[in-house]
């Protein structure tokens, strides 16, 4: 063993200055520098506006930081975020259990529907709710003849809950699939009834996953401003107030101060999230996973009916939501009557097509870049265990903690001067999307590395492959599925986000989601709905192609399936930042 180490050390010394080694060092340096430059620097810059403006340092914004008005905002935020994440996680658990105990075909179908319902252009859901259930809602007023007031915290909780179920269910299904089925069988063999097995084996096994879903969504709901603005009425929350302070009152300093308030709860939640993600089952050698349906295991009738109802109600609401969006695209509301019209589609002219083409290019590039950098980051952090890389990895996860709007604003504050003059370019949009989602590729790769035997790389090195060669011929091919997962995620988010890029888009570099946002805020719901519809179709198509890649992989290498499933779980566990 000692001798072996000596030989290695010798070789390393010899190779220290070889071109191969230099390339690798350059690569590591490049990754570290870009992450610090495009994540840490803008964040520091935007926070600095809260006490430094026009060359004057002034902590005035912090003097009233904990005023009673702000305390109430914090209270409201925490209240709503807690309630929505609890409800959302509970309902998602119902859906996940329902899917888990379905036949493979049905389960797969629901799973894919869940992936599609994850693509939800922002703002439009809240408007759909008002159109369906508002004071003059198509359902509440038109069909039931009621006049319901949807504005208030109830509306926010309802919408946030609904909007997180798809993603949360996918994460929980992955966790259920990762349970060693021998445990369940053993429990049954030892005489436990299904209820006992559920409460003593299944739920405890996925408890860390449940907790991580909960904390993740807590953070997301805290940072969500779109929903409260549209449906909150007089009920205001911190993120919405910060948004309004920037967007309408043009008080960046105060807004940055308010978003500083958002950070501590987010870090606490993130800490718990990380702690629990670490505990999520990693399959041991010889573990077997079976679908619930193959276990010969039936849940008690009451539970089955309940989770079936929840799943049904959820999909019914999704049908309503998407139906409403598509309907809004081709109708106009004339005195309470829906009338068919081509008007909105006609307004969808070259400017929009242009923007879609640009958005598509931007999202594809961001997807590729963020996947490559994320995977390399994981490789150097966890595989080669380089010192200090863990801190860099933490920096890479920061864009998930701060509200998207400020990540975008940070880019403007940081990159409007030579030599880093990027404002107004397409590059700044791509970089922003790339680095905002980098930690997803990173997390997916981390999960994959756990299941790939490190001896492979050593063998290749011993046989004379260069360091860069190992990366290219071994690491990337093995991580193809992590790459795709990360690509899909960054692509989808880049297509639909508004928050971070709203300040980065310029007249010359317009993107579709920002166009949609302006149409909606200017009262052109119909046109906004057309944009949303096209966005949904493009994103779904690209994702279906990518999923096809994934499932092909599955058929070719059944052994990779486990790691793949786990990655999916990780992907969503890691990648679940909302559309804010």
């Amino acid at each position: 063993m000692e001798a072996c180490k000596d030989i290695w050390r010798e070789r390393r010394l010899k190779n220290l200055l070889s071109p191969d080694s230099l390339i690798e060092k350059g690569l590591i340096l490049l990754i570290v520098v870009t992450i610090l430059l495009f994540i840490l620097f803008p964040i520091i810059m935007v926070i600095s506006t809260s006490f430094y403006q026009q060359g004057v340092i002034d902590f005035g914004n912090y003097r009233n930081l904990l005023s009673s008005a702000n305390l109430e905002l914090i209270r409201n935020s925490v209240f709503v975020a807690t309630l929505s994440s609890l409800l959302g996680t509970f309902f998602a658990l119902c859906v996940a259990l329902y899917v888990f105990f379905q036949k493979r075909k049905v389960g797969e179908l629901i799973y894919r529907s869940l992936m599609i319902t994850m693509i939800s252009p922002p703002f439009i859901s809240a408007i759909a709710l008002i159109m369906l259930f508002g004071r003059r809602g198509l359902i509440t007023h038109g069909i039931l003849g009621l006049s319901v007031n949807p504005y208030g915290w109830q509306g926010i909780v309802l919408l946030q809950t609904l909007s997180q179920i798809s993603l949360a269910s996918i994460m929980l299904i992955s966790a259920l699939n990762a349970i060693d089925s021998r445990l369940i069988q053993a429990s049954r063999d030892l005489g436990a009834n299904p209820t006992q097995t559920l409460s003593r084996v299944i739920l405890p096994s996925i408890f860390p996953a449940i907790m991580s879903v909960l904390f993740l969504f807590f953070t997301m709901n805290m940072a969500d401003f779109g929903t409260p603005i549209i449906i909150g009425g007089s009920f205001n929350v911190l993120a919405a107030e910060a948004y309004l302070k920037t967007f309408s009152a043009a008080d960046i300093g105060k807004a940055a101060t308010l978003s500083v308030l958002l950070i501590p709860p987010a870090i606490v939640a993130f800490y718990f999230y990380r702690k629990n993600v670490g505990k999520i089952n990693t399959l041991s050698e010889g573990a077997r996973t079976l679908k619930g349906a193959e276990l010969n295991f039936r849940l008690p009738v009451i539970i089955r009916v309940f989770i079936g109802l929840v799943t049904g109600a959820f999909f019914f609401s999704m049908v309503l939501k998407y139906g409403n969006i598509f309907l809004s695209a081709i109708t106009t509301n004339v005195s309470g009557e829906l009338v068919f019209t081509w008007e909105h589609i006609e307004r969808f002219h070259y400017r929009y097509v242009d923007a879609f083409y640009r958005t598509l290019r931007m999202s594809v590039m961001a997807g590729l870049l963020s996947s490559v950098v994320g995977i390399l980051l994981s490789y150097y952090t966890h595989r080669l265990k380089l010192p200090l890389m863990k801190s860099v990895e933490f920096v890479a996860s920061l864009p998930y903690i701060i509200p998207g709007l400020f990540f975008g604003l940070g880019y403007i504050v940081a990159f409007h001067n030579e030599p880093l003059l990027l404002t107004g370019t397409m590059t700044i949009l791509i970089l922003n999307c790339t680095f905002r989602h980098i930690s997803v590729g990173n997390k997916a790769a981390n999960a994959a590395f756990e299941n790939i035997d490190g001896k492979l790389e050593m063998a290749a090195r011993d046989l004379g492959t260069s360091r860069v060669g190992v990366l290219a011929t071994i690491i990337f091919p093995l991580l193809k599925s992590s790459f795709l997962v990360s690509f899909i995620n960054t692509f989808t988010k880049s297509m639909t986000t508004v928050g971070p890029i709203i300040f980065l888009a310029t007249p010359r570099n317009m993107v579709s989601s920002v166009l949609m946002f302006h149409d909606i805020t200017n009262g052109r719901y119909g046109l906004g709905a057309v944009v949303a519809t096209v966005l949904i179709f493009i994103t779904v198509s690209v994702n279906l192609v990518a999923i096809r890649f994934l499932s092909k992989e599955k058929e070719e290498k059944p052994a990779a399936e486990r790691s793949l499933r786990k990655e999916r779980g990780e992907k969503y566990a890691a990648g679940a930042k909302g559309f804010n």
Partner: protein, 349 residues
């Protein structure tokens, strides 16, 4: 080895595409060789930040007349001001088109606007113009109410005729107005009311008024949408072309209050950081010219800034003598103070 090459190619492609994008953008607009005398800016592209609903319909006419292309995006004036502050005035846009005048006053004071005195200004009421030419009013936007007749009938109520009517307890919960710290129009209404009624009377009126209001909308355009959708019976709003359009498909009607009519100018300004100053000046000139004003009025019905342009047909119900004698500078100066007091008044709302 093959895979490694493919991978490298993909990476390089991605990076080079990203790099190309950068070049693409910095490319200077091509000015064609054979410049005509009267079209010196043929082929120049101007970037506009627009907060003037409907203005886009006039852009083609401008391009036809001058050969200057327009790239635009709509952006609320507050957002523009935030962005300007974040990038310290170094915006890539050339011209700011429409929106709340208070943000323009602010941007002027921060030095983000280029002063320009267009020769067309002589035809325009000085009340709409910044003294040093940092911005000029394109049009005047009066404020008033929009009411949903179906809903009023259902509730058995008559529509309000004056500002004071709004405070009548019979409208409790049926009125929607925007948060004045967000909506420039709404702030202009507050400030205008104070200038008209005097401090004391105005504030006691607001105190009564807010009892009728459940919550404040988070944008100036929201009240008219919500009234059109039948969510509220009465909305306090700026009245312009879009408001009349809503009336074509919804049971809504505009009301110009009988006691007094607050208004704001829809300004136009050139950003100090522009690279196309001369073309931007040409744009300002065109939009302040008789021809430009007529076309802009066609795009969105407003009372135009030029005295020689007739008010649009839709505004015929407006009695111009009811328009406030508005001191815009005072409005800008008192903003913080008024909003603070307002915040106190609405308290926990």
């Amino acid at each position: 080895m093959k895979k490694w090459i493919i991978l490298l190619m993909v990476l390089m492609l991605a990076l080079s595409m990203a790099a190309c994008e950068g070049e693409d953008i910095q490319e200077e607009p091509v000015v064609s060789e054979g410049q005509e005398e009267e079209r010196p800016f043929e082929g120049t592209t101007l970037e506009l930040l627009v907060a003037y609903g409907g203005a886009e319909d006039s852009f083609d006419a401008f391009t036809d007349a001058t050969g200057i292309e327009i790239e635009w995006m709509s952006m609320s004036t507050g957002a523009v001001l935030s962005k300007l502050q974040a990038e310290d005035g170094k915006t890539t846009a050339d011209v700011w088109f429409g929106g709340g005048v208070d943000s323009y006053l602010n941007a002027r004071d921060l030095g983000y606007l280029e002063p320009y005195k267009s020769p067309e200004l002589s035809a325009i009421n000085p009340q709409y113009i910044d003294e040093d030419g940092h911005f000029a009013g394109l049009a005047l936007v009066p404020a008033g109410f929009i009411v949903n007749e179906d809903l009023l009938e259902e509730l058995g109520l008559e529509g309000p005729e004056t500002w004071l009517d709004l405070a009548d307890p019979q409208y409790q919960g049926e009125i929607i107005m925007a948060d004045p710290s967000i909506s420039g129009t709404q702030y202009a209404i507050l400030s205008g009311t104070i200038q008209e009624l005097g401090e004391e009377e105005a504030w006691s009126y607001f105190e009564e008024l807010i009892k009728n209001i459940d919550f404040f909308a988070k944008g100036g355009g929201e009240p008219q949408q919500k009234v059109a959708a039948g969510e509220f019976a009465i909305g306090v709003t700026a009245i312009h072309g879009r408001t009349f359009n809503i009336g074509e498909t919804s049971p809504t009607r505009e009301v110009f209050p009988e006691d007094f009519i607050p208004w704001t100018p829809a300004p136009i300004a050139i950003f100090q950081n522009t690279d196309n100053l001369e073309a931007a000046k040409a744009l300002v000139d065109w939009y302040l010219s008789y021809e430009g004003q007529e076309i802009l009025k066609e795009a969105d019905a407003r009372i135009m800034a030029r005295d020689d342009v007739d008010p649009p047909e839709e505004m015929s119900g407006l009695d111009r003598s009811k328009l406030l004698d508005f001191d815009l500078e005072r409005m800008g100066r008192e903003r913080e103070e008024i909003l603070e007091k307002w915040e106190e008044l609405i308290g926990g709302m």
